[in-house]
Symmetry: C2
Subunit: 165 residues, 2 copies
C-alpha cells in the first residue's frame, strides 16, 4: 500500500476547510451546494473536500441533537467517582460497565484525587436515585460517588472551536 486511504491527518487545513468544518459542525444537514457557496466553491470540489475530511478522520460522524425534555429526560447529573484501585485492569472494568449503561452519556477519566467524571441523564429524580443505588454505586471497584444535579445548562456547544486558519 502507498497512500494513506484511512485516517491519516493528511494536509494541514486551509481556510476553506475551516469554513466547511465550522459550517458542518453547526448545520450538519446542510446540502453540499449550500455548503459550497458558503465556502466560495462549486459543488464538486466542495464534496471532494468533505469526503477527504471524512476519510481523514477530521469529520468523525454526524448526529441529530434531540430534545431531552421532549423524550422525557428531565434530569442531568454529574457524578464524581473514585475507585478503590487505579490498576489499569480495574479502570477498564469500570469503563466497560459504564459503556453498558444508557443513562451514562459520558465517562471521562481524570487526573488527581477523583478518578472519573460521569455525565448521567434520567427521567426524573426518583429514576436517578434508583440508577445510582442499583447501577453506579455497586459498579466494579467503586470507592465513592459524589453527585451534583444540574439545575440549568447555559451553554452546550457541540464539538470544538474551529480556529480561523
Amino acid at each position: 500500500m502507498k497512500g494513506n486511504a484511512v485516517a491519516g491527518q493528511s494536509q494541514p487545513l486551509d481556510s476553506i476547510d475551516r469554513v466547511i468544518l465550522s459550517t458542518l459542525q453547526k448545520e450538519g444537514r446542510i446540502t453540499n451546494v449550500d455548503l459550497a457557496s458558503r465556502a466560495g466553491l462549486t459543488a464538486p470540489p466542495c464534496l471532494r473536500r468533505v469526503r477527504a475530511l471524512e476519510d481523514g478522520g477530521v469529520i468523525e460522524s454526524y448526529h441529530a441533537r434531540l430534545s431531552a425534555s421532549a423524550l422525557g429526560y428531565g434530569i442531568m447529573v454529574f457524578a464524581l467517582v473514585s475507585l478503590k484501585s487505579q490498576a489499569e485492569a480495574d479502570l477498564k472494568a469500570f469503563e466497560t460497565h459504564m459503556a453498558t449503561l444508557p443513562e451514562v452519556r459520558e465517562c471521562h477519566m481524570l487526573n488527581g484525587e477523583i478518578d472519573f467524571i460521569v455525565k448521567i441523564v434520567a427521567h426524573d429524580l426518583q429514576a436517578f436515585q434508583s440508577f445510582l443505588t442499583s447501577q453506579l454505586t455497586p459498579a466494579p471497584n467503586v470507592a465513592g460517588v459524589k453527585t451534583s444535579l444540574v439545575i440549568r445548562t447555559s451553554k452546550d456547544e457541540p464539538g470544538i472551536p474551529v480556529d480561523p486558519a
Copy 2:
C-alpha cells in the same frame, strides 16, 4: 392562529418515531430514503414525520462531530467553579461571560456547594493555564476554581437514550 406550528410537543412518539430519532441521532446524514426503509415506511411519510419532529422541537439540530486532536485540541478539562454570590444577576453575569469564551464548550449550574461545572478544551496544557489565569479565574464573581484534566474519555455519546416505545 390555530395549530401549534412551533415547538408544541404535539403527539406522543410512536415506535416508528423512535426508530427515526435513534437513527438520526447516530447517523445524522442518512438519506431520507434509507431512513424510511429502516423505519418501515416509504420516503414521503418518513419525511413528513421528520419535519414534524423538527418543527415540534424533538429534533433540535444536526451537527458534524469533529476530531479534537485533528484540530489541534489535545486537552479537555472540567472546572468546578464556585461563585461569591448566588444572586440571579451574578449567576447570569458569569454565564454571559462563559458564553463568550470559545474554549468553554459546556456550562452547567449545579445544586449544592459548587456552583458551576464547565467543560473546557485547549490546544495544550500551556494554553489551558493561560486561559485559566486570564479568563476563568478573573471571571465576574468567581470565588474559587478547581480543575481536573481529562486523561482519557471512554464514552461520549451524542444526545440521550431513545427508549424503545
